[in-house]
């Protein structure tokens, strides 16, 4: 018997309102695995992530979650299985960290949103895990960008979803926070056996932390381990501009301006 993947995409075609923007995506992701999605701006990285999370309808193809077709899951079940985190969160004055955790207990709390003691324990644990122990009564709008991202990751732990999908978690962070957040996600993949998919433009950090890279290339979708991606020169296919090449030795993109 073959093992069921946490996520399996078969010839998936994504887009808005019936118009295809990217097609023929075939890939899979397992629990305990950290996957980085890369691609040029406008290729549809966010659309792909939202489509997997069920925030947007697919055009065609299949999405299997734990081996079952995604049509088997209703909104509530799917949102419990998958946490989708957008790149930036609104800063609401006076909204406490604990309030955000409470919002993540939407389906577990009572009709006016009060949570049980067992959930409170899970919240303390999640905050500890993300390095925010004792932050319960802090005003979330006064947290640093890095702390706010941690807070949102803690929210997905409170939901206890097996899959965490994070759209550009490090886009607005400084380099030290980029590493901290990326390694925090890696820790969750390994220690909590989560399946984590995140998109990023930051190859230096992503190549370091990811188990596999999904590439929404110019010519089509491809994937592989960081090593395969590098050795196979797969990164060159990301941009349509042929002057941009990925330099394996320098581990960065170089731009040939013709001089």
């Amino acid at each position: 018997m073959t093992q069921e993947h946490a996520i399996e995409l078969k010839g998936l075609c994504i887009g808005y309102a019936g118009t295809e923007i990217y097609g023929n995506i075939t890939a899979h992701a397992d629990k305990g695995e950290m996957i980085c999605l890369i691609g040029a701006n406008g290729k549809g990285k966010s659309t792909l992530l939202k489509t997997i999370a069920g925030l947007q309808n697919k055009i065609s193809g299949e999405i299997l979650l734990n081996g079952k077709d995604d049509s088997f899951f209703n909104k509530k079940e799917r949102s419990t299985l998958i946490s989708f985190l957008p790149p930036r969160f609104p800063r609401i004055p006076n909204l406490k960290v604990m309030d955000i955790m409470g919002i993540n207990c939407y389906h577990k709390s009572n009709w006016i949103g009060q949570i049980k003691d067992s959930e409170k324990k899970a919240i303390t644990e999640a905050l500890g895990m993300t390095g925010l122990a004792g932050f319960e009564n802090r005003d979330s709008s006064k947290l640093s960008d890095g702390e706010l991202q941690r807070c949102m990751i803690a929210g997905s732990l409170v939901k206890d979803s097996e899959i965490i999908i994070f759209d550009e978690p490090t886009a607005f962070l400084d380099i030290s926070n980029k590493f901290h957040i990326s390694y925090l996600l890696k820790k969750l993949a390994y220690e909590k056996n989560k399946c984590i998919i995140f998109s990023s433009h930051d190859l230096q950090v992503s190549m370091d932390v990811s188990d596999r890279i999904w590439i929404m290339g110019n010519a089509g979708f491809t994937e592989g381990s960081p090593y395969e991606v590098l050795e196979g020169n797969k990164l060159n296919g990301i941009f349509s501009d042929s002057r941009i090449r990925y330099d394996k030795d320098k581990n960065k993109f170089v731009y040939n301006n013709g001089i």
Partner: protein
């Protein structure tokens, strides 16, 4: 922390109780404590009893209901439209009510129907119908567009058209009908009888109960659209639910007391400041309690400033509400 919150609630309840007692004694004629108590609790009929039971008591009940509704309505709209200055006026719901009343009071006079036969209840019905009509339009639009800003712009445009139509009607209307309409726009808690106050109470109570069931959804909406969908919530459905409860609240106040501006924006902000929270589990009861006190205070001031007659509610609510709103704008831009 928990205790502090309870103390503030108790303080707000005591303020509301004190203000209702003061309001009973406020009016053009002064009564002693003994006379008032006799009027309220004894069986004998007297002119004092008539004034207290038939005039002042319904007025206080109306003020309490309007107060409980107005801040709560503003709170929900501010969260729904992610706009700190949103309230029923911005969405055009109040203009809709105004248009209903204008068509009713002025339009009907074209057909030669005499005014004396029409009661407050007719005006109220027209206002509710107008508010409901605009809400249907807003509901339809909010189903088409997810973008809250477009809906706000539509609201403002609908207000514009509504006001223009009202102006046209006023231009053609005969004097007595015009006077009735203008009096309604000034806002008042008086002139309601106990049956009307009860009708208003039932409508508002339905709105309040719906609002309480919205608490979780309102909190989730704070986090933005994608986050709401990520929680497995049907966003369109909860938006509709919030809009319906806000309309019930706004419609019942406007229908019976006329349009009351600015307090709906100001009260939620005052509550956020006092309780230092954005959690609707605290803010929903807080806006109800603070709204009651604010409305009773408005009513007391409107009656005690002059010796003759009453200053329109809308004048006092503007004087109390606008400074708070300006403070919010200054604070937000710092």
């Amino acid at each position: 922390m928990k205790f502090k919150k309870t103390y503030i609630y108790i303080l707000l309840i005591l303020t509301a109780l004190t203000l209702s007692v003061i309001d009973i004694f406020t009016g053009s004629s002064l009564f002693s404590i003994k006379e008032t108590a006799q009027a309220l609790f004894s069986e004998e009929t007297s002119s004092i009893k008539k004034i207290i039971i038939d005039y002042r008591l319904p007025k206080i009940i109306a003020a309490i209901i309007a107060g409980a509704s107005i801040g709560l309505c503003g709170l929900q709209m501010q969260t729904l439209f992610k706009n700190p200055l949103a309230d029923p006026y911005i969405l055009g719901i109040s203009t809709g009510a105004g248009l209903g009343v204008a068509v009713f009071t002025m339009g009907i006079s074209f057909f030669g129907v005499s005014w004396n036969f029409l009661t407050n209840l007719g005006t109220a019905g027209a206002a509710l119908a107008g508010a409901a009509a605009i809400t249907m339009v807003i509901l339809y639009i909010s189903g088409k567009f997810k973008d809250t800003l477009s809906i706000l712009v539509f609201g403002i445009m609908i207000s514009g058209i509504g006001s223009a139509l009202i102006n046209l009607l006023q231009y053609w209307a005969p004097d007595p009908a015009l006077k009735t309409y203008v009096l309604w726009t000034m806002g008042s808690f008086s002139g309601l009888n106990i049956e009307e106050a009860c009708t208003m109470g039932i409508l508002a109570l339905t709105g309040i109960i719906l609002s309480v069931t919205n608490i979780k959804n309102l909190n989730a909406l704070l986090m933005g659209s994608d986050y709401v969908s990520g929680l497995g919530i049907n966003e369109k459905r909860i938006r509709k639910k919030i809009l319906i409860s806000s309309t019930l609240l706004a419609g019942s106040i406007t229908a019976f007391c006329g349009p009351i501006g600015f307090l709906g924006i100001a009260i939620p902000h005052v509550c956020r400041m006092i309780f230092r929270t954005a959690n609707h589990r605290t803010l929903v009861p807080a806006t109800i309690l603070a709204g009651i006190s604010a409305m009773l205070a408005t009513d007391i001031i409107s009656q005690s400033c002059t010796n003759s007659g009453i200053i329109p509610i809308n004048t006092i609510s503007a004087i109390l509400g606008i400074p708070v709103i300006i403070l919010i704008i200054i604070k937000n831009n710092k």
